[in-house]
Symmetry: C2
Subunit: 333 residues, 2 copies
C-alpha cells in the first residue's frame, strides 16, 4: 500500500531501487544502455510506487510540451466543432494533446489568445481568424510554428482552406445541366470572405455560360432570412435558387411550401454546408458538404510536419463535396 500523501518523483524511485536518478530516467525513457536486470528492478519499483515522470518538468528541460493550441472564433459553430474534432483526433493519434481557446467572436481577443496559448504549447492552429489581414500577417511570424485554417494564403504560415468557390461553381453547373438558365443567389453577410468566394464562383459561371442569368438577392445566414426572401425570390422568375447556406435554404423551402410552390417541380433549391438535417428537409436538400473534419486533419498534418522538422504545403485546398438530393431537378419547360 503506497503512501499517497505526496506525488512520487524520480528521486523516490531512485532511492527505492537503490540507483541514481539518471538510471531511472534512462529506464523510463527506454534508453537501451542499461543493464537488463537493473532496468527490470527500476521498472518494478516504478510500477510499485505508481511513478510517472512529471510532464511539466520534462517539458521544461526538453523544450517541448507535446501539446498544441487551437484557437477558434466560435465553439458553437458546427464547422469549427468539426474542424476541432479532426485536429483533436489526428493529434491524439500522433501522441499530442490539444489546448483549446474560444474567442467567442471577440476579434480583439484573438491575438491575445493566440499568443498566450502558443506560449504554453509547441505549435498553434488558427481557425478562420477574424482579424484583418495586416494584423494577421504581423502576428504569424511570432507564432511559428503555426497553421492557419480557412483564410487566404499567407507568407508566414501554411494555410488549409475549403474551396467555397469551386464548390458553389459545381452547384451552379449542376443546375445548368438540369436545364436551368435563370438563377438567383441568396447572399449572406456582404463583407465576409466566404460570401466573396461565392460571388467569385457566380462570376466564373457567368463568364463560362453567356446565356446564363444570375440575380443576386441580399438575404442573410439563418432560417428566418431564407423565409423572408420568398417574395423576392419568386419575383425574379428564376427557376434555380442557390442559398447562402442550408439554413437559408430551409427557411426558403418552408415559405415556399406555405405559398404552395412545388419544389423541385416549379423551383429547384440548393443549400450549402450539408448540415446533418439537410437530408431530412422536405424535399431533402441538395447541398455542398464542407469537409470540416478533414480540414482539421490536414491542418494537423501540416503542423505535425513542421513540428517534426519537416515542411508543409503552403496552401492546401479541399473542395466541398456536392450532395445531390431531391430539392433540385429539371427546370420547368
Amino acid at each position: 500500500m503506497a503512501d499517497r500523501t505526496r506525488r512520487v518523483g524520480i528521486t523516490d524511485v531512485a532511492r527505492a531501487a537503490e540507483v541514481s536518478l539518471s538510471t531511472v530516467s534512462r529506464v523510463m525513457n527506454g534508453n537501451a544502455t542499461v543493464d537488463p536486470d537493473l532496468a527490470a528492478r527500476v521498472r518494478a519499483t516504478a510500477a510499485e510506487l505508481g511513478y510517472t515522470a512529471s510532464p511539466l518538468a520534462r517539458s521544461l528541460v526538453l523544450g517541448r510540451t507535446q501539446t498544441v493550441a487551437v484557437v477558434v472564433p466560435d465553439l458553437a459553430n458546427p464547422t469549427f466543432q468539426a474542424i476541432l474534432r479532426g485536429i483533436s483526433r489526428a493529434a491524439g493519434r500522433d501522441g499530442y494533446h490539444v489546448l483549446i481557446a474560444d474567442s467567442a467572436e471577440q476579434v480583439g481577443e484573438e491575438r491575445l489568445l493566440a499568443e498566450e496559448t502558443r506560449r504554453r504549447t509547441d505549435g498553434l492552429i488558427l481557425c478562420a481568424p477574424r482579424m484583418p489581414q495586416p494584423e494577421l500577417a504581423g502576428l504569424l511570424p511570432g507564432l511559428s510554428p503555426v497553421v492557419v485554417v480557412n483564410r487566404a494564403p499567407q507568407d508566414a504560415a501554411p494555410v488549409v482552406a475549403a474551396d467555397y468557390r469551386t464548390a458553389l461553381r459545381e452547384l451552379v453547373e449542376h443546375l445548368i445541366s438540369l436545364g436551368h438558365r435563370h438563377l438567383a443567389y441568396l447572399a449572406g453577410v456582404p463583407g465576409s470572405a466566404s460570401n466573396a468566394a461565392r460571388l467569385a464562383a457566380l462570376a466564373d459561371a457567368r463568364d463560362a455560360h453567356p446565356g446564363l442569368e444570375i440575380v443576386e438577392l441580399p438575404s442573410g445566414v439563418d432560417f428566418d432570412s431564407g423565409a423572408a426572401s420568398v417574395d423576392a425570390v419568386l419575383a425574379t422568375g428564376a427557376t434555380g435558387i442557390l442559398a447562402f447556406n442550408d439554413l437559408v435554404a430551409m427557411g426558403l423551402l418552408s415559405s415556399l411550401a406555405d405559398r404552395g410552390v412545388r419544389v423541385p417541380r416549379q423551383l429547384s433549391v440548393a443549400g450549402f454546408d450539408d448540415i446533418p438535417f439537410a437530408r431530412y428537409t422536405t424535399p431533402p436538400l441538395t447541398s455542398a458538404a464542407v469537409p470540416a473534419t478533414e480540414l482539421g486533419e490536414r491542418a494537423w498534418a501540416a503542423l505535425h510536419a513542421r513540428l517534426t522538422g519537416g515542411t508543409a504545403e503552403p496552401f492546401t485546398t479541399l473542395t466541398p463535396r456536392v450532395v445531390l438530393r431531391a430539392s433540385t431537378a429539371a427546370a420547368p419547360s
Copy 2:
C-alpha cells in the same frame, strides 16, 4: 529592433535593467515591495524586450498550470460540444486554459486519457464517462480535483447532471394535461443511463396516474430508428408518442407524413434534447431542452471552487426545459 533569434528570459531582462533576477520576478508578479522607479525601469525593459515569463517554468515552481482537462466520449456529439463550450468559456473568464481529450467512444481509452491529461493540468472534468461504476469509483480518487458530468452521484467527486427523469416526467404530464391516456415510448439504447432515467420517469407517471397506459417500444437513437418504428407505433393505438430524442421523433414524423397520419390532430409526438432543428420540423417539435452549456458552466464552477480551496455541491442537478410546440395537441376524442 529586438533580436528574435532566441526567446528572451528573465535573465535577459535582469541584465538589461541592471537588476537581479529576483527584482524582475517581483515586478512581473506585482510584488509591492519594490522601489517604484526601479519597477518602472524593469517594466520598461521587459516591454522593450517583449518579455513574458515562461508559463512552463512558472508552472513547475508554482505547482499549478492554470489549465484544466476535459475528457469527452465523443466530440461529434452536440451535447458534449455544448458542455465543452460552457466549460471553456467559463474557465476562460477565470483565467484558466482548457486541455481537451476525445475518447471517441473507446471506453478502454477513457481511463488513460483521464490520467494522462490530469497530470498535465490542475484539475479534470470527466464528461459522461462510459466506464462502469466500479472502475469509475476506483479511478476518481487519484484524479482529484475532478468533477463528473452526467453520471449518478459519486463519493469521490462532485457531479453535475441533467435531470432527464424529471424532464421526461414533465413531458408526460404535458401530454396528460392534453387528455392523452394512452402513450407510447420509443426507447433508446437499453443499457444506457439516460434511457434508464427515462424509464424511471415513466414508472413515476404510472404511479401517479392509475388510468394511464404507457407502452414501451424498442427503437434506437437516430432518424432511421424513428422512421422504422412507425408501424409499431400505430399498432399500439397510443395517441401520444414520447420519442427517445428529437432525431427519433423526426424520423417518426417523416414516416407518419408518408402514411398520411396527421400530427398533432391524430397523434401527438414529443422529442427530447431540443436540437436546433426541432423548431423547423413539420410540425415544429415539442421537446425538452437539455441545458448543456449551463451544465458545462456548473461543472466549471464546481471545479473552480475546489481549485481555489473551496468546496463544491456534491450533486448538482439541472432540469431540462420543456419546449411546447405544434407537434403536441389535445388527444383526439
